[in-house]
């Protein structure tokens, strides 16, 4: 376990102790904070196991060569199309898309495509977009798609060229 993780776990433990103590001693702000974090934990924590099961299955069943061929250096711009389709189906916020991006990268997707996937998954997940269009209108959602999708591709191309993929560095820094 890394040093940063230990610090994080200690912080989390301190937080839990604080909240529990607040309930024991009837400290109002601490109790309120506890209720907020409990509600949020319930929404978040439930998403992770389902997402990670799918990631695990992806890792054992999908051949590296397949990912490399379509999303790697040889995939060209069509790779964006495939990750767009994948992004449509993401049902959760970016924190869930991140481990998926990590797996794609480990399987040989090039950095541009990984960044493209992250961008697409934030902007055009279908369940979220339906929700958005319901409350803000279809034109609003369409404008967002039409403006942000090309910009995501452009910014992914730029960033992908500027940075070395973390997976290429190997060792501790590597994705995984």
């Amino acid at each position: 376990m890394k040093k940063g993780d230990i610090v994080n776990l200690c912080l989390a433990a301190a937080f839990v102790v604080f909240v529990v103590a607040s309930f024991v001693f009837g400290l109002q702000p601490g109790m309120k904070l506890g209720r907020i974090s409990w509600d949020f934990t319930k929404t978040m924590i439930l998403m992770f196991p389902g997402a990670f099961i799918l990631i695990g299955l992806f890792e054992v069943w999908i051949d590296r060569s397949l990912v490399e061929k379509h999303l790697g250096e040889t995939g060209g711009l069509l790779g964006y199309f495939w990750v767009l389709l994948l992004a449509f189906s993401v049902m959760a916020p970016m924190v869930i898309a991140l481990p998926i991006a990590k797996s794609l990268s480990e399987k040989g997707a090039r950095l541009q495509i990984v960044l493209g996937f992250l961008g697409f998954s934030t902007v055009c997940r279908i369940p979220m977009s339906v929700f958005e269009a319901t409350y803000l209108g279809v034109p609003f959602t369409l404008v967002r798609f039409m403006v942000s999708l090309p910009l995501i591709i452009i910014s992914s191309e730029i960033l992908g060229r500027l940075f070395v993929p973390p997976s290429a560095k190997g060792g501790e820094r590597s994705i995984g």
Partner: protein, 161 residues
């Protein structure tokens, strides 16, 4: 949420039918990966809770209503970058704000940064992209969100060209 588990369950059943060994391996990978990022997830949850404690959703709504088009968009983009609110809460909230006369430009700046820029999830992102690239991605996402808001404002006639 339910669809996620239906998908995961179906994929798991299918996988087990073909190869129980590979399925077990997949579950092991899933557990290991989850365990590895759990500390970051916990910090993320705590950070979001603390922010929500000090600036609850109804307060965010008030702030978005208080400002005009340009200042409002800038404020909305900053709040959107920091806050983390699930879609099923934020879009009904935005629908309500729209009825209260908040412009599409402001709502676009708010929702786009909310989804694309993640100050509170930076720890998780840093582990995937490295901190330099994670920072660069967030900055470029912020610019992208502002451009999207700008075009939204022009198309909906809220900003004069």
């Amino acid at each position: 949420m339910n669809i996620l588990y239906i998908a995961a369950g179906a994929a798991l059943a299918l996988s087990a039918a073909f190869s129980p060994r590979k399925t077990a391996e997949a579950l092991k990978i899933a557990a290991r990966k989850f365990w590895k990022i759990l500390p970051q997830i916990l910090i993320f949850i705590i950070a979001v809770s603390v922010v929500l404690y000090f600036v609850p959703e109804d307060r965010i709504a008030e702030i978005l209503e208080e400002h005009g088009l340009l200042a409002g968009s800038a404020v909305a983009a900053v709040i959107g970058s920091i806050a983390f609110i699930p879609g099923f809460i934020v879009f009904p909230l935005c629908g309500l704000l729209r009825e209260h006369g908040v412009s599409y430009t402001v709502l676009s700046a708010f929702t786009t940064t909310l989804m694309m820029v993640g100050v509170l999830s930076f720890g998780l992102e840093k582990d995937v992209l490295g901190w330099k690239l994670a920072a660069a991605r967030n900055i470029s996402a912020f610019i992208l969100a502002m451009l999207t808001a700008l075009v939204t404002g022009l198309i909906f006639g809220e900003l004069a060209a």
